[in-house]
Symmetry: C2
Subunit: 452 residues, 2 copies
């Protein structure tokens, strides 16, 4: 009980003592500026509608690099540069999945090959489908039951978790491992039920990995409605599936992350705010992660516009290649180390541009409790949850170097309806929700810049 | 400081002592049941797609009455009945607003007459437009400047408020009073900029009132884009507007609110959960307030499904005529009084079916603090804000009789993009957000039923 009261007193001390009034006024200025004059929403429209999806290695990714550099200059960054990084190049090409229906006809299913998956090299690969619900069920199957078959991992995305990222985490192993698990027992390719919280037929792509001990066979995703239908069919009959696809990894390529900064007035230690500039090759990469990009640029613009004198250097980083390699994040960490740059703090926005609810903190308890003590300042902006202990994928290399890291926590209810799909479009983003996320990040960076 | 610590100890005591564990398990059961098996989303689809908008007095409202009664029976209510209420009948009819452009041609503007407004009786009414931004500016205008003119109240919906209901409250007086203010100084009709947080051209209707001292002249709303264009035109030239409309009030009509209840096991004192069954006559009345209706029905279904033994009677009320009269709410309060029914508590959901963030409490401090002490139970469900002190429109008559009342507080960012418009459709509602609102209401009623 004492510990709880202690934490609570710490939490409340802001409202009673100290700089709370001044900070509260600054929070309000930041919010008013961004909600009224923020450019993030119109910039997101440019990125999604003029450039569209932008997988690593694609021409559109290179266009996005140029675009982001220009937007950082427009925002008033003192310095903008491209950071070289070698990135993997995966291409989808034409693809189709068919099943032979009871009347002997072939029927096309809406599908997407999983990202990084090898294809069939443009040839038909077919076999009988066997369905399993869970990993445990699959593990019990003898290899001879799987040999030359198509394995349908029909694990449903759980609706039970209030935070949908937990449902995603729960199901992700099927997407990541389905191909190699199938290959291990001699199957021909794998089908998974999409990691989707929606009751529709949209397939979700996303990264998968190969276990080096087994042959690289294809893996594809189908939407929930198709998965339901297939599940029903398989209850009463044998079904043959046929895949023809052309996806696969090409040679690595030189590309870039994009960085812009406002130089520190007191010292050159660095505070990072970022998102990832790449997306999967479907939809428009709006919530994943166009919103993180435009929010990060908005932070710089707001500091400049309000004339906030930053003690430390504030750097917006548009990371390359989060989706299928994290090469941008790794290169950023390596460069920071090689150049002996001191990083004070890093935050990423990569969970959608929805209304913010909190900030997840991956750092020691002293720093965590200091940020938590600012909670009353954030409360009027709908930001109240500082309980998370994870941070963004692209800034893990910084975290591993001992830098305190964080992630913006937006409301998660709609994200996995559209994540990695053709439905992740500009129209799914609400202007005010997006801008409130930028507001929360700007407010946090204002506090950290002032107090650390 | 002492007071803050005292409240905090009260707030935290739940996590340390008492029934917290048992309640936490029940909260989880409620959430899991609703997120997995809730029928609110498919029921909302029926209401919005099969019946559609349902203004008081319309045939579709009467269909909604039958539909709601059936859904309450399906949910397992012990008793379902219709409560008679006389409601106003307002009809829109054909309407058009045109302006004469610089080249002398008439151009049609997208518009909606405000709800309850009189029309032009099918005749053209025209005049020169004068624009004012604020009430203060209008008050300073001499009557001779307004006589025979069309007054364009161009007051913008403020983006500055984090809670959009504050922006709505700030601008609502223009919608409510524009006609009588214009009439008072001899103007012919009023145009208002819609109460809209969106940057689009969708006009928003909504209730207006006439001051009995002045002639009833028409008032119409235009969308933000049209308002911007008109504002620009008026900077450099005189513009004539022409209205032709047929709306107006008809004779009152007998209709019904719909009520279903699960009888109390210990006593017959009543806990109310409700929403309003009517909507404006555009769009589908999805967020306003189809969501409140299906959430209220979900509460009863969940009590039945989980076999929770309710001490008190739990009553779902689908109120008639919230939008233009609140006759259903007033009649419900009157009947409760006449029948000497004891009401323990009432909560309404009428702020959209978005992810819940809190519960607003209009009651004495003892009861308020008791509910606040349950906050840690609600936190895992994203429900954290118990600071509001208002409650739903339809349950004000109960509040005025001394009943503790409340309102569900969903995230407000998207509501005024679509409120009272053709865009308030089923597609704008997210299944999980809707069901989490029903979850929070069921959890709260479980606690109140158990502890009061």
């Amino acid at each position: 009980m004492k510990k709880i009261i202690g934490t609570t007193l710490l939490l409340l001390s802001m409202t009673v003592f100290g700089q709370a009034k001044e900070d509260s006024i600054q929070f309000s200025k930041i919010s008013t500026e961004i909600l009224n004059n923020g450019k993030g929403y119109t910039e997101l429209k440019e990125l999604t509608k003029n450039i569209g999806h932008r997988l690593s290695g694609s021409q559109s990714y290179e266009k996005a690099v140029e675009w982001a550099a220009q937007k950082l200059r427009d925002a008033g960054a003192d310095k903008v540069w491209l950071q070289e990084v070698m990135i993997p190049v995966w291409e989808r090409g034409k693809e189709s999945l068919q099943i032979k229906t009871p009347d002997g006809k072939w029927k096309s299913l809406k599908m997407l090959s999983l990202g990084n998956s090898e294809g069939t090299g443009g040839k038909d690969v077919s076999g009988e489908i066997i369905m399993v619900i869970s990993m445990e069920e699959y593990d019990k199957l003898p290899a001879e039951r799987v040999k030359d078959k198509i394995v349908f991992f029909n694990y449903p995305f759980s609706q039970s978790f209030v935070e949908t990222f937990k449902g995603y985490g729960d199901a992700a192993k099927y997407r990541v491992n389905a191909a190699s698990l199938t290959s291990k027992k001699g199957g021909r390719f794998a089908i998974i039920r999409s990691l989707s919280s929606a009751f529709d037929d949209i397939p979700h792509t996303g990264g998968m990995r190969y276990d080096k001990d087994y042959a690289k066979i294809p893996a594809v995703a189908i939407g929930n409605t198709t998965a339901d239908e297939l599940e029903n069919l398989l209850k009463s009959q044998k079904i043959t599936a046929k895949l023809n696809s052309n996806c696969g990894m090409k040679a690595e390529k030189l590309s870039h992350s994009v960085i812009g900064e406002i130089t520190g007035k007191k010292d050159q230690s660095v505070i990072v705010v970022g998102g990832h500039l790449d997306s999967w090759d479907v939809g428009e990469g709006a919530h994943d992660d166009g919103t993180g990009i435009v929010q990060s640029i908005e932070v710089l613009r707001t500091f400049k516009k309000l004339g906030i004198k930053n003690n430390h250097t504030i750097r917006a980083v548009c990371f390359a290649n989060e989706e299928n390699g994290v090469k941008g994040g790794v290169q950023y960490g390596k460069t920071a180390k090689d150049n002996n740059e001191k990083h004070l703090f890093a935050i990423e926005s990569d969970a959608g541009g929805f209304a913010p609810r909190g900030i997840s903190l991956e750092m020691d308890d002293t720093k965590r409790n200091q940020i938590k003590s600012w909670a009353p300042l954030f409360f009027p902006y709908g930001v109240y949850n500082f309980e998370g202990t994870y941070s963004g994928t692209d800034i893990y290399p910084l975290h591993d170097m001992g830098v305190p890291t964080a992630e913006l926590v937006p409301d998660s209810q709609r994200y996995f309806d559209i994540h990695h799909t053709e439905e992740d479009t500009f129209e799914k983003v609400n202007r005010r929700e997006l801008l409130l996320g930028a507001t929360a990040m700007t407010q946090l960076i204002y506090m950290i810049d002032k107090n650390w």
